[in-house]
């Protein structure tokens, strides 16, 4: 039987091209960041440094937070609350999304709840949860999770509906046991949209948690922002938020994106 010839994947010119492409992408990212800093500086001049402090002043103010001793403790406590809330939201949305996407009766009966949940104002949920569970970290996590869960559930639910029944059919013909089909054919198909749900969910969790801290906690990034806002010290407001923004970005680019590229390397592989 004839052997099918495969194109040589390890072409040196191709690799050099890819490298040049990466260098160019990095240059654009740096230029984009520089442009953002310039725009920030420009707006600061326009509206006045007492409303929007200049970038350099904000960055220097971070040192003051460090000197006061709460820079790292604020970041740590906020990160802890975000992770707790995110874990709850992830579990809830995967269970709910799987139920809604795979069980017809559940979809008809409980589907509207997700829509309703998504339209309840965040403030109402935060206040109710603080009243019900007390003003503590647990309530902050549960409240944030309840606000974030509906949009994550929508993402998982949509994905579950998109699972390809043809692959399950194939596995059944080849007499693959039921549990193995679930584990090796269905679950891997859910990974891409669980990943998407997790990424958007984490970003949303961080933004909501700042609010939740502001309303009922006496530590963390959100509390610190409110504290300095009351003192009308805008330098310190920005300085409170900036380190955590950098942390979130570092997590996105340093952990999530490389992980996604590795887990879904089969998707990027183009036919040549």
């Amino acid at each position: 039987m004839a052997t099918v010839e495969l194109p040589d994947a390890s072409d040196a010119p191709l690799r050099r091209e890819a490298y040049a492409g990466r260098v160019q992408a990095t240059m654009y990212t740096l230029a984009s960041l520089l442009l953002l800093a310039l725009a920030w500086q420009g707006i600061s001049w326009l509206v006045g440094a007492d409303v929007l402090p200049a970038p350099i002043a904000s960055i220097l103010a971070i040192r003051q937070s460090a000197a006061d001793g709460y820079l790292w403790s604020d970041m740590a406590v906020t990160a802890y609350r975000i992770l707790g809330a995110f874990a709850i939201a992830l579990v809830v949305s995967i269970v709910a999304g799987a139920l809604l996407g795979r069980v017809r009766v559940a979809e008809r009966l409980l589907g509207p709840w997700v829509t309703i949940g998504a339209s309840v104002p965040s403030l109402v949920i935060i206040v109710v949860v603080y009243l019900a569970l007390g003003i503590n970290d647990r309530a902050a996590m549960v409240g944030t999770a309840l606000i974030v869960a509906p949009s994550m559930t929508f993402a998982v639910w949509d994905g579950m509906r998109a699972i390809n029944p043809e692959l399950q059919e194939m596995a059944r013909v080849f007499a693959v046991p039921r549990f193995t089909i679930l584990q090796r054919v269905v679950l891997p198909q859910t990974m891409p949209f669980i990943f998407t749900a997790a990424r958007t969910g984490l970003a949303l969790t961080w933004r909501i948690m700042i609010f939740v801290e502001l309303l009922g906690r006496s530590s963390g990034v959100g509390y610190r922002i409110q504290y300095f806002y009351n003192l009308v010290d805008m330098n310190r407001v920005i300085a409170a938020a900036l380190p955590f923004i950098v942390l979130m970005l570092a997590f996105e680019f340093g952990v999530l994106r490389p992980l996604e590229r590795f887990v879904f390397r089969w998707r990027r592989a183009e036919a040549r």
Partner: protein
Amino acid sequence: MSARLVFRGLSRVFQNGRHTSPAISGLDLTLEAGSFTAIVGPSGGGKTTLLHIAAGLDTQYTGEFTREPATATLAMLFQQPRLLPWRSARDNVAFVLETRGVTTPDARRRADELLALVGLAAAGDKFPAQLSGGMQQRVALARALAVDPDLLLMDEPFSALDELTAGRLREELLALSAQKVRTILFVTHDIAEACYLAERVVVLSAHPGRVVGEVRIDLPRQRRPDDPRLAEYAGRVLAFIDHGMTAGAPA
């Protein structure tokens, strides 16, 4: 040990809301062990339904269907390759072995042998998305052969490929089917393909599907696609199809 299939008085009705449409009605057909049978008929007929019943995917039929022995090993080639996109070509073939209790290293070794057999010795590490449609279908063929099936079901496996690739794969399938005896049921709407590959071509009518005739292809297993006798056989199959169209039309 190859399988023998018997369909007797087989009917399958699809319920679409209040609308019912019979896909197969009173079909009688026996596939002898080790035979290579092609089923042809107009599209929208019961060809794929019949294949799904034979595969055990569809059990909502009335009438009788038996597979002897009941424990026969099945494999199927679909119109689309239906590979797991997150597994390499090697691991796609190994998958059906691992789920049968073969250890992963053994399954991978066997997968490499089978990939070599279908001409893809160098493609083991490639993901399906890195392979052309024809190569993907070769991987699917290797996967089907991996379980050493007693019954090989094929649902228009070459119809989504370009003619050049399809022709080459047909040749290779013919060579493989000559190497080892197993029961093969091949569904297609391509009359020339059916006559070239099969020992026996069964013609189904459309709406509802029933057997309107069959043609035995009395040629040696080693055939050439341009054999002039094939055109003769194709003409006889076509006559049955025309007959089936008029006979199957509502009165």
